[in-house]
Symmetry: C2
Subunit: 337 residues, 2 copies
């Protein structure tokens, strides 16, 4: 039995546009906003293999308007932006590996389209609140733990470079053009509505898929790398808090979790949550991945706590239990992309 869907009433009556709204985080956000009484529209390019799917919005508490378009497309975005009070800019290419095999595409999707969107917002709806989702990947290999927002940025893959550029452009538009823009740096996120069938989107959906199927789970290296995983509902709450907190403007915030776990432990918890049929093994690093691995990561989110009043509420065991329950109730996630 899956838990109740999240409801975010903070933006009741507001017009909210969610980019990437058919994807993992975007769809969970759109559903929570609609359940809370916001007027919600989503735009999604439905880029093949990026995890976007119209079915992610099934069961919405209120109608959600869906536009299939690139976020930098003037024609498609003009009517959407004309009404938006808040733009949650969640769209993006998230595969680190794909960013290395097709870097120009990653640049176009993660920087160029976002810059075009910023220009459109500046022109058409400069008073809109904008919240951008960035990533801990901008830091590269941590020099110290936990990593705070002042940690040097040194991305180790093209995706990290591009996400950092997009984040900096968002904050720049806040500073230079007096726009109400903030950014959140996410860590590894898991939960319902994540694409499970593709590798290259991070280890969590792979672990969950293999656990659900009772297949063995491979962990690279010694399995001691720390990660502070976030349940998607905690991310959704942070996005909404960033939108409704005036002091967030022009700021970037780490999201993170007090419980930094070792990868091998994460794999064991996922396997156990699905019934324990999966065997967890340590295997050597594949060459193409070890070069863009960052070692241990653990984010300091005290700034988000102080300014946004945000802290994660869901521990890894409980989050995984809810995740497993969701996919058991929605088996199509295991049979398509």
């Amino acid at each position: 039995m899956a838990p109740d869907p999240l409801t975010c009433p903070e933006l009741r009556g507001a017009s909210c546009l969610v980019t990437g709204g058919l994807g993992f985080i975007g769809s969970n956000l759109a559903l929570a906003l609609a359940a809370g009484g916001a007027r919600v529209a989503v735009v999604d390019a439905l880029v093949p293999h990026h995890g976007g799917d119209r079915r992610n919005l099934d069961g919405a508490a209120a109608p959600i308007a869906v536009t299939i378009a690139d976020i930098g497309d003037r024609g498609a975005m003009t009517p959407l932006l004309g009404e938006a009070d808040v733009v949650f800019n969640v769209a993006g290419q998230v595969s680190h590996l794909e960013s290395m095999t097709d870097p120009l595409r990653d640049l176009d999707l993660n920087v160029r389209s976002h810059l075009a969107l910023l220009e459109l917002v500046r022109e058409l709806r400069p008073g809109a609140v904008v919240v951008h989702t960035s990533t801990r990947q901008v830091y590269g290999r941590p020099r110290y733990l936990p990593v705070d927002e002042d940690h040097p940025t040194a991305p180790v893959d093209v995706n990290g470079v591009d996400k950092l550029a997009a984040e900096q452009l968002h904050l720049l538009y806040a500073a230079v053009h007096d726009m109400a823009i903030s950014a959140l740096r996410l860590t590894n996120v898991y939960g319902p509505r994540q694409s499970l069938m593709r590798d290259g989107l991070g280890f969590l959906p792979v672990f969950v898929r293999r656990a659900l199927r009772g297949e063995p789970i491979d962990v690279y290296g010694d399995g001691r790398q720390l990660r502070d995983c976030l349940y998607v509902d905690d991310v959704v709450r942070a996005l909404v808090l960033a939108a409704v907190t005036p002091d967030s403007v022009g700021q970037v915030f780490n999201l993170g979790h007090d419980d930094a776990l070792e990868l091998a432990e994460i794999a064991r918890i996922v396997a156990a949550g699905a019934g324990g049929a999966s065997e967890v093994s340590l295997v050597p690093w594949p060459d193409d991945l070890v070069r863009i691995d960052i070692g241990s990561f653990w984010g300091d989110f005290s700034k988000a706590k102080r300014v946004l009043g945000w802290a994660p509420e869901i521990g890894f065991g409980a989050g995984i239990a809810a995740t497993i329950a969701f996919y058991r109730e929605h088996p199509w996630y295991l049979s398509s992309i």
Copy 2:
């Protein structure tokens, strides 16, 4: 009487490709390499108003092959890269102000084309040495002086965001693809062959133009902002040293000057160097510029000194004297572009 042109013999016999080779720094580099016995080809898109001009290569000591193309153009670049031992990647859009009025164009010229070039080098000539010219603008407003390479990066304009992304991509290709790539962060550069007739390319060419014409020179604000200006020959020597120093691979180096001068003093030296007819005045900041101003800047170049054996050799007074003499001998710089 202009000083002797610089000669760089370190790459004698080597095949050198200079991108942006019809522009300010690129043309000075190409001439110095040709005088030193390298086989030199340049590629330049001759983007209008960017300062590129075929006449910048007048008087070359040996023939320099010129290709007019974007650096990401596969067809044009394939024959050039097939022969290159060293690629000096100097091309770029350098106007901070223009990057704010046409940000997508800045992204295309300063990031997308460079990423396409990196992909072409990786495919066609992965063993070539590549030196990229980055900028102190990646740091934004300094938190401390002098600014070393570990100073946080927080660009204050789109140009800074884009230049940082391009630099990070270059260093990433060194780390991930084992390529011999390094990057230099330049400060304000002046000297022969700089476009004088356009504003928005930094204060130095404006000061020089107005001094040559005996026109008044305006300095924004209180004129106390520090800048460590570099004569172009010192930059050319640094580029060549980066190319021939194996320990530079994967590294970024500040260039800078021990003599950090206040802007008002810089203006007075330029005016005096041209005969003293120009009056120097302090005027209030224009609104569009104050928002992207960074205050004082002074770079710590001890890493370049240690690893490359580089230090600037030309003081500001001597450099300005050589600069003024050059433009007096080449008056077309004051009547075109």
